[in-house]
Symmetry: C2
């Protein structure tokens, strides 16, 4: 891992670079699968399930018995943890409900916004060795609170055609309408175009490998909305001399264990903590079951010593971290000045894993600097705001001249007439 | 124009189709221009300005003198209209300010959202015969209210290198920081990657021709956020026997005059109004200066007679119109049931042109059925919501077990340790 001391600002652009993720090389392969699923429906989804996931399925849907079986097979303490996390996620996202105010912009001209749920949403949950039931909660709980009528979850089954019981349990707790055994490009295609078993949705959420990412990119160009662009996960930690090096190290490693392309960055103005942190990382890494993968991603990671707090804040806003952890005495003062970040964790007892699982905030967040323009998933992600307006006779008389002059100057005569004819016919 | 009476639901999918817009055939051309501007900066922007817009420029920036000259050349009544529209847009968008509430999800665990402006935004305003100064207001006013620090506007100049004075005046009134004389793909490229004269931004807004649309699609895949996917403009009108046929006709034609690929749809349960509306359209069309273009887009337009109100609402939500005008006695009752639409115009004295120009709502709206998942441009479009959380010693003790159990079950040991180490070190 690189330690960089007092880099000049001209070098920062280099330091804020992420491990590259360019999936455009996959577009041809992906387009083929998209086209086949669009044309052939379930048949193509099953064929690609056999080819890519080595699983042969009769039905793409999880049955009621499978749900019941899952519920039996999960330890009670995990059920309890999932329920607690769900309650907190629900509390925080329910507080984000929007109620539009009616505004009279001119006498007789009233405008307002109304939040309406996206009727049908698709949630993608990747497969792999660890079941990402936490992501099920993060996507399905706000979807249900928003009022989405159809919440469809796609996830690849294992080789005997089963979905991990913790995913099924979390989906049930969170209120998912339908779970489909489909993964990869074929799942994204099915959610986009609909098949006999899998409903077409209007927006697709969730993480995935590079094929899923490429598929989401392609379908988002014309056919369906997606949550946000994807990239490897990352954390930035800001620490001072009062921070506990073991806390810094464990947060650093939490990020690194996500995958070989994850990135952790520690930024400090206190050179003296660097050795202690490095040592704590070494000690803790040794104990981790995923130590090989974790060491790999440490190669993308950096400790950067900057000269003062102004530089720290400025660097942070340029980097725009997905996760920002602040272990400094004055973390509240720094928080006020953060302009680009996905989710911010304040103070010594606020590890990222709290937000990853159970504090209530969402863990689907903008990576790769997208925090400069994107929010993480929140209740807004599952609704759209429709504007309404109602104008009275008095209102159109008050505003008519303005509209007529503007329309005439944009050479749109029917636009102008729409006012003129109404006023004439009063 | 087609009149379709009592179509069976099986035919609706056909009826909600829009004129196709597939720009992927332009991607190769577009990518070449993007790459050259990225590499060569201003030089390439100027070269393509000469090639595509027939204009040779010394400087890409609008000067202070050009602003002053523009202000002198605009009739006072247009200035006044622009100021009135700006005031209304400001009132409505200022009412959309977001203040996050602090939520204690578990004792000692506090989470909240904070809205922060996107620091740098780019606004694209197309060229052509009519100056789209109204779009300048629609994009720049909310950007300024949101607190965007840098608001950069790109628009192609005319052949003598000038920008229309109404655009300059609207930009000044609205608070644009910088106006650049660049159009087409090269403008989108410059806003995405930055050049010597044109700053790199984090999100690009605004309409454009098919090249601009294709360029926005390509850059949105990796490099910058965009407002929303583009498509031809459209209106749906719902009317009953009490509606004035002249009002229906003029709203129908307002949409049609936008461009040959625009679409107007009238939906009614009252067969008896059809002939009157057709006649009113004929009469009004005859008087319009843009009658040829307008007649062309009438070919994409339809009058559809449905059997009852339930069908009308159901059809509307399937079509998901960009603009929805309701000229029925019970328009408020219908409005309650609208789930998919960009902007809704209620009652006889609420023409679309009010919202297009001056009522205060935004006119940058989701077309092509995107209203199922997207909102129109509003204050949210210029901010992102960052989540914050602060956990006390008590908080992490309360929530620690839940986090540990979930992390262990997702096989993320460092995530679990992040809690364990903290509790051990208290």
């Amino acid at each position: 891992m690189e330690v960089i001391k007092y880099p000049p600002r001209s070098q920062w652009n280099e330091l804020i670079k992420r491990p590259a993720l360019d999936v455009s090389g996959l577009f041809d392969t992906v387009q083929t699968v998209l086209d086949e699923v669009r044309k052939e429906g379930d048949k193509a989804v099953k064929r690609y399930g056999e080819k890519f996931d080595n699983v042969s399925l009769q039905s793409l849907l999880v049955s009621g018995e499978e749900f019941a079986e899952a519920e039996k097979n999960i330890p009670e303490e995990l059920k309890e943890a999932i329920r607690t996390a769900k309650d907190n996620i629900e509390k925080f996202h329910a507080s984000q409900q929007f109620t539009g105010e009616k505004i009279e912009t001119t006498a007789g001209v009233t405008c307002w916004q109304k939040a309406v749920a996206i009727e049908k949403v698709g949630l993608y949950i990747p497969g792999g060795t660890a079941p990402l039931f936490s992501t099920v909660l993060m996507l399905a709980v706000p979807a249900r609170i928003a009022g989405c009528k159809e919440i469809v979850l796609c996830t690849p089954p294992n080789r005997v055609g089963k979905v991990h019981p913790a995913i099924l349990f979390a989906a049930k707790v969170a209120g998912v309408s339908k779970i489909c055994k489909a993964g990869g490009i074929q799942a994204i295609a099915a959610l986009t175009y609909g098949t006999e078993s899998i409903p077409k949705v209007y927006k697709i959420f969730g993480p995935g490998n590079q094929y899923v990412t490429a598929a989401k990119q392609l379908v988002s160009l014309r056919d369906v909305a997606i949550d946000m662009p994807a990239g490897p996960s990352e954390v930035q930690i800001i620490a001072d001399g009062n921070a506990n090096p073991a806390f810094i190290a464990v947060d650093f490693l939490s990020q690194a264990e996500h995958g070989a392309d994850s990135q952790s960055i520690l930024v400090t103005t206190d050179e003296s903590i660097v050795m202690d942190v490095l040592q704590a990382i070494d000690e803790q890494l040794f104990e981790l079951p995923r130590k090989e993968l974790t060491s790999q991603s440490l190669r993308n990671s950096r400790i950067i010593v900057l000269k003062d707090q102004e530089e720290v804040i400025s660097f942070t806003n340029q980097y725009a971290p997905e996760h920002l952890i602040m272990q400094t005495t004055n973390y509240r003062e720094i928080a006020e000045q953060i302009e680009n970040a996905g989710s911010v964790f304040m103070g010594p007892y606020t590890p990222e894993s709290a937000g990853d699982y159970a504090s209530g905030t969402n863990h689907t967040l903008p990576t790769n600097g997208y925090a400069r323009a994107y929010s993480g998933v929140n209740l807004d992600s599952f609704i759209k705001k429709i504007t309404f307006q109602e104008i009275t006779r008095e209102g159109i008389q008050n505003l008519g001249k303005t509209i007529e002059i503007m329309a005439a100057n944009e050479q749109l005569d029917a636009h102008k007439n729409a006012v003129t004819i109404r006023i004439k016919n009063m």
